[in-house]
Symmetry: C2
Subunit: 196 residues, 2 copies
Amino acid sequence: MLALDAKAQDLLFLDGHTASSFKPDPVSDEQIAEIWELIRWAPTGGNASPGRLLLVRSPEARERLVAHMGESNRAKTLAAPLTVVLAADTRYHELWPKIEPGREEAAKRLEDDPPARERLAMLSGTLVTAYFLIGVRAAGLAAGPMGGFDRAGVDGEFFPDGRWRSILVVNVGVPDEGSYKQRSARLGFEDVARVV
Amino acid sequence: MLALDAKAQDLLFLDGHTASSFKPDPVSDEQIAEIWELIRWAPTGGNASPGRLLLVRSPEARERLVAHMGESNRAKTLAAPLTVVLAADTRYHELWPKIEPGREEAAKRLEDDPPARERLAMLSGTLVTAYFLIGVRAAGLAAGPMGGFDRAGVDGEFFPDGRWRSILVVNVGVPDEGSYKQRSARLGFEDVARVV
């Protein structure tokens, strides 16, 4: 019944796997930009647009990153062609004039309510994180998302002004033969849904 | 350069729009189940699988829901063919035996650390919320996601045992002619990305 064709279903969902090791093929900034050009059209709260990407490319930056990651995530992150830290910009409203003029009043309300502003940043920034994982697959690449890191440590290291906040660290590349573990099962609709 | 074909890019991202009003065509539980069968394969943290769906279908339940929603979201929610509350199950580890045997120790650690368990539930539950928005489009339908509601109110109304927590309320249906506002611009890659 789905409108999405079978090949796209396979690419994005049914055959997509989390990858833990990659072929040496590089992943360019241009490839990540192309993923962004696609996923940026998916919704955020009131088009708040807080999603941000830190491309951790240099060996030196990679070492700074893994110092704040769990032991089991370090070697694969150092070896990945590219690592992207998905983040939320807590001052997203400052960029609104670029995308939607005439929202000065809404921006002012958010400026004066940091808790509400930061909640929306994390909520919509996390939606963008999921769109990015789908977008990596849309580009024919595989993603290795990792939540096992010290958020305060990564934020202090890369976002010392406190404006961006890390959400997920994602390795990106072309998966190699040994990368895929056998995929675990998933919950059925009857496990996750209720009707009222 | 993308591997995803142009038609699928259009369906999921480039032509997809947030919808605020819908044709009377019903949306069945079976359609939502089919969306779930697709999106359940996308990643959650360690396959934690906390994403849940409350299908708010009956007029009575719809009234109970909109009582906790912002004024501007009420009429369109009452009129939508179906409204789904995306939620996170904070006791997701209890369902792990269904999907991945042998994780008793990890489940025990989470049982004893409610803050860590709830953080992961909300993070991965929000990823699933984004997958659902993409999945609605994959089914040829349109989604109207809304963050403007009283979370504590909705949770108290529908999840009184405190186990599920609401994330986003989403109207689902076939959009009507007047549904789409002209889409606002989006930030460019140069606005959102840094390379280190």
